[in-house]
Amino acid sequence: MIKRIWATFYARSLEFLRDRSTLGWNFILPIALVFGLAFVFSGDGQPLFKVAVVAQSAEHPFLHTEHVEFYEVTPDAVDATVRKVGRHQVDMLLDLRDESARYWINSDSQNGYFLEKLLQHSGGTALQPQSVQGAEIRYVDWVVPGILGMNLMFSCLFGVGFVIVRYRKSGYLKRLNATPLSATEFLLAQIASRLALVVVVTTIVFTGTNLFMHFTMEGSYWNLLLVLVLGAFTLIALSLVVAARVSSEELAGGLLNLLTWPMMVLSGVWFSMEGTNPVMQWVSQLSPLTHILSAARAIMLDGAGLADIGVQLLVLVAMAALFLVIGTLSFKWTTE
């Protein structure tokens, strides 16, 4: 069994490595995006103030200030939002609850300084100042897990799902079906081959761009690698569900696009889902990419350990198991 899996793994990996155009694209796209976004957002940024508010329904004249984006957070999210103030991702946090009327700003932030002055001159209830310190998180630090995650998603879904459909349509699967190779062995080899390739490619891209961009990394690289491996495995398993029976490349392409585009928009690749419609936030939880990016950002930006990202890891394990069972049980070798 191991011999057959290894042979299939090796043959598929050779095929991928010799397909220079596809291999090149797997490197070029994420590198171009990382450097492109770093360049675009390398200036001082837009003069927009972003303020998180607990109990926004409370009346306070400051909330009517123009050119400030106010968004509501729940009392449970105060700690997490304070950390964002520390990273300059949010300029100010207001807690307008009667018993604890306070505000937080980052003492190193120019935006925080100006917002504090505006708050003091707005009138209304006096709020207790709280100070936070911390270096600014650049947009590129926040977005790099998103770009690599997006590349991972496309590579896993199209690189496995689309290829299996092509194999089925061309009759290659039918030929393999005439050998002692079992469906499980074949699928395991496809998973292992793609997993190895995306982990190596993503690691090279991350390491290479990090040499120039010096991304913020508060947590463990090993934990990040674990998220990468588990995330890639889950996305590959999802691709097996699409590829299990389809024999038309056009249909497979349509189905894969139907999965990837909502995931790209709703998983927080380019922007945070905070402050968006609660229904959309709930829908985003159905996407494996949401949990991959959430865990990766928690490790990189907040220094989260395994216990902190336990929920995301468990969700990914559950999704991978579900997709794998469906994909394997419904797999067909031929177009019949």
């Binding site: 299939t8 095929e15 010799r18 397909d19 009759g171 030929r175 393999l176 079906n177 002692p180």
Partner: protein
């Protein structure tokens, strides 16, 4: 009596609205070349795919060496499909090594390469082979596990005459190694030259089964005289005949008594310069049984 290597009992395959195979029975003796012939839509591809274990029968059973077809069959059978795609970017050598790795027992690569004469193409990208070279490589893939039974599904379709003759030579080499060969083909000449036994299928049923010579002897006691239309005078048209080819103008006379027919032709002033007498062929048998031209 030698046990059949493959036995087919009351085999059926139904698709929605189509009965592709309608209860067929036959047995294949080990070491022979067994041909499966039939017009398009006769059910031969469905039958061979069920024999190969690719398609599940609706009813009936297939036994390999007396056992219900299973894991042992997959290890001991070699299959060359009519059209087989392979992975891109792999050389002939890499394809052979890959398929060898899928079996518990395989032929040494050198031996396989020698049988199929692939020495000059081993390190060539498999997608860049010519038609004949590709068919030889696909045959090599079918032989990697040193199979006891080899399925060849229309292996010479699309090949030029020289490549086809070369392929026949390879099939004869396989037969010489006492392997059982199951062959489907559109070429009657190929079936006659390679097969020890044939079945002809039509409408999902077997309509003839036996050795090519026995079948010809059973169905025909006559021969065919062919002569150009220009050599066939008006007076000779009292002899029963038909126009075989309107374009080239060939006339065909079927007769059980060659001497008497030739006498009549001479008597009516026919020229014998372009005349040919030929025995019945499998193509004639096929036309007689199915009423269809095989290549249509």
């Amino acid at each position: 009596m030698t046990q059949a290597i493959l036995e087919v009992r009351d085999l059926h395959k139904h698709y929605p609205g189509v009965n592709a195979v309608n209860g067929i029975d036959f047995a294949v003796r080990p070491g022979i070349c067994f041909g499966l012939l039939g017009p398009n839509g006769a059910g031969k591809t469905t039958t061979i795919e069920m024999l190969e274990g690719i398609t599940k029968p609706t009813a009936g059973e297939i036994r390999y060496k007396g056992e219900i077809q299973g894991a042992r069959f997959r290890q001991e059978a070699g299959i060359q499909f009519q059209s087989t795609a392979l992975q891109d970017f792999l050389t002939v050598r890499e394809n052979l090594k890959f398929f060898s790795s899928l079996y518990p027992h395989s032929l040494p690569l050198d031996e396989l390469v020698a049988i199929c004469r692939l020495e000059d193409y081993l390190d060539r990208d498999a997608s860049k082979l010519s038609g004949g070279q590709r068919q030889r490589m696909l045959l090599a893939l079918a032989l990697v596990n040193d199979p006891d039974v080899v399925f060849l599904d229309e292996p010479t379709t699309g090949l030029d005459p020289q490549a086809r003759l070369n392929f026949w030579e390879l099939v004869n080499k396989i037969k010489a190694r006492h392997k059982t060969v199951l062959l489907t083909t559109h070429y009657m000449e190929e079936a006659y030259n390679l097969c020890d036994e044939i079945v002809i299928m039509d409408h999902g049923k077997i309509i003839a089964h036996g050795s090519p010579d026995t079948l010809l002897a059973t169905h025909f006691q006559d021969v065919i005289i062919e002569l150009p239309e220009r050599d066939f005078p008006e007076a000779a048209k009292i002899i029963p005949h038909r126009y075989l080819d309107k374009v080239t103008g060939t006339v065909e006379i079927i007769t059980q008594d060659v001497n008497a027919t030739l006498g009549l032709l001479i008597h009516h002033g026919a020229s014998l310069a372009g005349l040919q007498v030929r025995p019945r062929t499998l193509e004639d048998l096929f036309l007689a049984l199915t009423g269809k031209e095989l290549r249509a």
